[in-house]
Amino acid sequence: MNLTHCLLLASFLFCVGVYGLLTRRQAVAVLLALELMMNAANLAFVAFAHFRGGPGQLFVVFALAITVAEVAIGLALVMLLYRRHDDTALDRASETQG
Amino acid sequence: MSHLLAWIVAAPAIAAAVLLVLPASARLPIRVVSLIGAVVACAGSVLVALTYDRVAGGMQMPDDWALVPSLGIHLKLAVDGWGVALLLLTGVIIVTGVLASWGVEKRGKEFFLLLLVLVSGVFGVFVSQDLFVFFLFYEIAVLPMYLLIGIWGASHDVPKRGPFGFAWKRFAVGGKEYAAMKLTLMLLVGSAAILVAMFLLWKEAGGTSFDLAHLEQTKFSLATQNWAFPLLWLGFGTLAGVFPFHTWSPDGHASAPTAVSMLHAGVLMKLGAFGVMRVGMVLCPDAAANWAWLVGGVAVINVLYGALCAASQTDLKYIIAYSSVSHMGIVMLGAATLTTTGWNGAVYQMFAHGIMTGLFFALVGLVYERAHTRAIAKMGGFGHVMPAVACFFTLACLSSLGLPGTAGFVAEFLVFLGAAEGAHSWWAVPAVIGAVVTAVYVLRACKTIFWGPPPTGEFAHLTDARSTEWAAPIVLGAALILFGFWPRFLLDFIDVASHTFLARIAPFS
């Protein structure tokens, strides 16, 4: 197993995340897709740190902390959405349209 | 007295600050405080005129405080001959303006507060010797206008037709909010142009100082000047009502309340012309000479076109507003001649027109308050019930058409002379014709409103001016005649400054 394999995996995960982001309509699923993309990046960080050295691991710790915060806010938003629309479908939340 | 100029600028602002802490219900104290602020500034201006050494000329009574030393921004105040004349004008107009708006009932506190802030800015512009501070005061003078017109103004109907009728479907044309918005937006676009030119000049002068004296000593390259001058001309010119950027003026002046119209047409439009001359022409002398044909040509259009437009109006305030467009054309024409005679005439016209149009708007406000209409076709015979108003209105008309013995004559005649001896003698021809058209529209308005059989029905019981309303007609009317018979008092100030400034341009024209 070398760096290429790891990066290929990370890319694959990322693409899955993007696909999920663009196609899923439920807010929770979108959040999951976002987490997937985030973790793909984390994986790349760790892979680089392992094969090339550098402060990648440190970034991952930061990223995880931020992810936690993000999930907290995201889930809170999902709750609000649900209260407002009795549903978590994102395309119903388009009040900000111009 | 030290820091006299600073006190003049600060007096209205301090009065405004005092108003802030007064309760809105204190009707009389609010007016008295405003009047005190205005009178102190006016007295200061008179004091400046009395102590200014008009033989020596130049910048006098300097004051200097550093504001942003790293960028070279100083609160630097000093006064030159032009400044003296315009300080006097502003002082007289604000005092009479406060007295003329004694009866404003709606949100009186805020009205006087904004009026005082505005006039503080005007005073600031006339004494600033730092371009940045000049611009700052300029904006302070322009912006309160939005609220003053938008809140205290009056609306009227404009038929939405013509080739651009579609554009009006969106706007409440004729409304006070529309007038206020148009005025503010057009002047802000002008300010943007000024800002660009300002930084252009600042950068080329080394980027260390906005001091006007420093900028004057810098020899700007022709390319910079050729960019900066048109920007300054259009930017300041918008406020001076330069064609075709004058259209904020009729709507704005017609919608504005009395004192605001007085201040705006009487003083603010002069800020524009003053900016073109003091900043544009003095800092960019080569470009001023290059572009003189355009500045003068447009000014000639202003004079004739403004007069013709005024002749077609049926609303009293519009007539006066368009006459301002026409008369500001005379100011710009005098400036474009690049001769001392023309420049003296231009600054004298600023003063004369300020007084004259202040008088006009004060009287129009008086008539409007009583008759509740501005359509001159509905009026008639008012001379029987308000003889004093009729007399003073006639006097303003006479100054407007340049009758000898009024300040308007001295100003217009000097501009005509300057035009005739300048590089483009033909400018004098349409300018003089414009004065004749002026005679047509002002006297027709005068005849329709004041002459004819005594009014009947709703107008039968109109009254003449009362108590504080007398201030504006008497003071401004007397000034028109005084400065018509005795021009030297002002011309000595103006002339010494014109000579200094023109010395920079003379080699190029």
Binding site: - | P250, V410, A428, R488
Partner: protein, 599 residues
């Protein structure tokens, strides 16, 4: 300042002081009689000063005092002051005497006015006297122009004195506009003169072209002020003012200011033969044309107004012929007899309460003094030998002998006949014949009105004999000679009067009255001017107003509209759906990546 100039300055400033007092002290003005007394006192002082000046004046002497008025760069650009010479001294006397007579006459004539309006009337008279004297003693053309405009202002205010009458309001603005239009010429002349000489002196030496330009422009102003064809249309309308005002402003002094200007600026006009040629023709045409119209007027004041136009035509023609003195001499005698005629007409109007000749008739028995003095004025105007009008008119005609192929001379001779004819008509219709209904109750006016008539009748009778003295003062040549002109002129004057007796004495209409009346009604000139005003000026201004509101302002509103509209379009991109934004982010990221790979 020598004592002479102080006296001249006094004649200017005392009326100003009186007017100012009346203006700044409203109670004084509103009291009426005290204001009148003050103004008449001022006129008395001015008259006394002018008489003293006349007695002290040495023939041919010119003294002048100027103080700087507009100073630029340490040099006087314009100055004001007094100029005392033969012309100004005589003119000052004429103006002051006539003004004093008219004001005394007005005391009684205007007594029906309310006190405040009575005071206003006399204030305006004092203002007029100040303005006119400013003009007369002006040491340069700029001050003359200032006086010129100020008399125009007082004329405007006095024509519109009864401002409740719409016709008076119309007439006053018309008078102001017509003269203001012509005054453009004066302004341009001042500008041209200033550019050429850096001054406003009428003694300047100019090149022929400049002199022609300046004088032609000045003459344009004269055509307006002195009511010459084709700008004469305001003068008949100006009769809307009170009759004493017509006597003073619109007959004796103000309208003569134009002629005075040419006399004053004679050194300039002498350098411009082309302008003089034009003046000769304009003067002759006006004289004849206005005399024809005077023949068919039914309003006694309008007869006199057209007669004034006609007589001013004589003066202008004389000046065109190169004789400033002839024009000035006729100006002087005309001022007296025409003021007399107008005041006489005022006395009649006061008695019968009508301007119409048809309402008069048979007044000779009721109003003997008025009849006598009016008769003297009429005969003097008609040019009956021995009276003042005869001498000056004869001298004018003598100057025209042989000029331009005798045509102007012939025209003015014809005018002489017509003048006698129409004055005969007025005499017969107003004072002769049977009494009309209105005339039945008429009675002679009081002393305050008769005194000025008698005083003015003296110079109307005898001023002609002063020609020699006047000429000596002005440094001109004057001699009465018995030749073709006086004989023909006398014969024509007498023939005209006899003709009037033959025609009107028997109650007939004037020959060709139909033609002339249609000429007057159609008043082609007047209609042209009102058409120009209504259709051209107001038309162009309506177009300008429309263009400004709907095109210039429209364009600026269109800019605002475009901004708002394009904003409205662009904002549709903001769908508010998260997936659209996410898609945009992804596509954007891909594009950036692609750009990174490809470069």
């Amino acid at each position: 300042m020598s004592s002479l100039q102080s006296w001249a300055a006094l004649a200017v400033l005392v009326p100003l002081a009186a007017a100012l007092l009346c203006v700044v002290l409203p109670p004084l003005r509103r009291a009426g009689k005290p204001a009148a007394a003050l103004c008449i006192l001022a006129s008395l002082v001015a008259t006394a000063a002018s008489i003293y000046l006349l007695t002290q004046h040495e023939a041919g002497a010119v003294t002048r005092t100027e103080v700087p008025w507009i100073v630029l760069g340490g040099k006087a650009l314009a100055s004001i002051g007094v100029n005392v010479d033969g012309v100004s001294v005589v003119m000052l006397l004429v103006v002051c005497v006539v003004a004093l007579c008219v004001q005394v006459f007005s005391l009684a004539y205007m007594h029906d006015e309310t006190p405040s309006s009575y005071g206003r009337y006399f204030t305006l008279h004092a203002l007029f006297l100040f303005s006119m004297n400013t003009l007369v003693v002006a040491p340069n053309l700029l001050q003359l122009f200032a006086g010129w405009e100020l008399v125009g202002l007082t004329s405007y205010l006095l024509i519109g004195f009864w401002f409740h009458k719409p016709s008076a309001a119309r007439a006053s603005v018309k008078a102001f506009w017509m003269t203001k239009l012509a005054d453009m010429g004066f302004v341009f002349a001042l500008l041209a003169l200033f550019v050429a000489t850096r001054g406003f002196d009428w003694n300047a030496r100019l090149s022929t072209e400049t002199a022609t330009l300046v004088t032609a422009l000045l003459f344009l102003a004269v055509v307006g002020k002195s009511a010459q064809f084709p700008l004469h249309v305001w003068l008949p309308d100006a009769m809307e003012g009170p009759t004493p005002v017509s006597a003073l402003l619109h007959a004796a002094t103000m309208v003569a200011a134009g002629v005075f200007l040419i006399v004053r600026a004679d050194p300039l006009f002498a350098q411009a033969p082309a302008t003089c040629e034009v003046m000769l023709w304009v003067g002759s045409i006006t004289a004849l044309f206005a005399a024809c119209l005077a023949l068919v007027q039914s309003d006694i004041k309008k007869v006199l107004a057209y007669s004034t136009c006609s007589q001013l035509g004589y003066m202008v023609a004389a000046l065109g012929a190169g004789s400033a003195f002839a024009g000035f001499f006729h100006l002087g005698t005309h001022a007296f007899f025409k003021a007399l005629l107008f005041l006489g007409a005022g006395s009649v109007i006061h008695a019968v309460h009508s301007n119409e000749l048809a309402d008069m008739g048979g007044l000779r028995r009721k109003m003997p003094v008025t009849t006598l003095t009016f008769g003297i004025g009429a005969l003097s105007l008609a040019g009956v030998p021995g009276l003042a009008g005869f001498f000056s008119k004869d001298f004018v005609l003598a100057q025209l002998e042989g000029k331009a192929g005798w045509i102007p001379w012939t025209m003015l001779m014809a005018t002489s006949f017509l003048t006698a004819f129409y004055m005969g008509r007025v005499l017969i219709k107003a004072f002769g014949g049977a009494e009309s209904a209105k005339a039945h109750h008429a009675h002679e006016s009081g002393g305050a009105m008769l005194l000025p008539l008698v005083v003015l009748a003296v110079p109307a009778l005898a001023a002609g004999f002063l020609g020699g003295v006047l000429a000596e003062w002005s440094g001109a040549e004057y001699h009465v000679h018995l030749g073709l002109t006086p004989v023909v002129a006398s014969c024509l004057a007498i023939a005209g009067l006899l003709g009037a007796v033959m025609v009107f004495g028997r109650g007939r209409a004037a020959p060709f009255a139909g033609v002339l009346e249609s000429l007057d009604r159609a008043s082609a000139v007047d209609r042209t001017w009102s058409g120009l005003y209504r259709h051209v000026l107001l038309g162009v201004s309506a177009v300008a107003g429309f263009v400004d509101r709907y095109f210039v302002d429209g364009l600026i509103n269109a800019v605002g509209y475009t901004t708002i509209e394009s904003g409205a379009r662009v904002r549709r991109l903001q769908t508010g759906r998260i997936h659209d934004y996410a898609m945009a982010v992804v596509v954007g990221a891909l594009l950036i990546a692609l750009w990174g790979v490809l470069r």
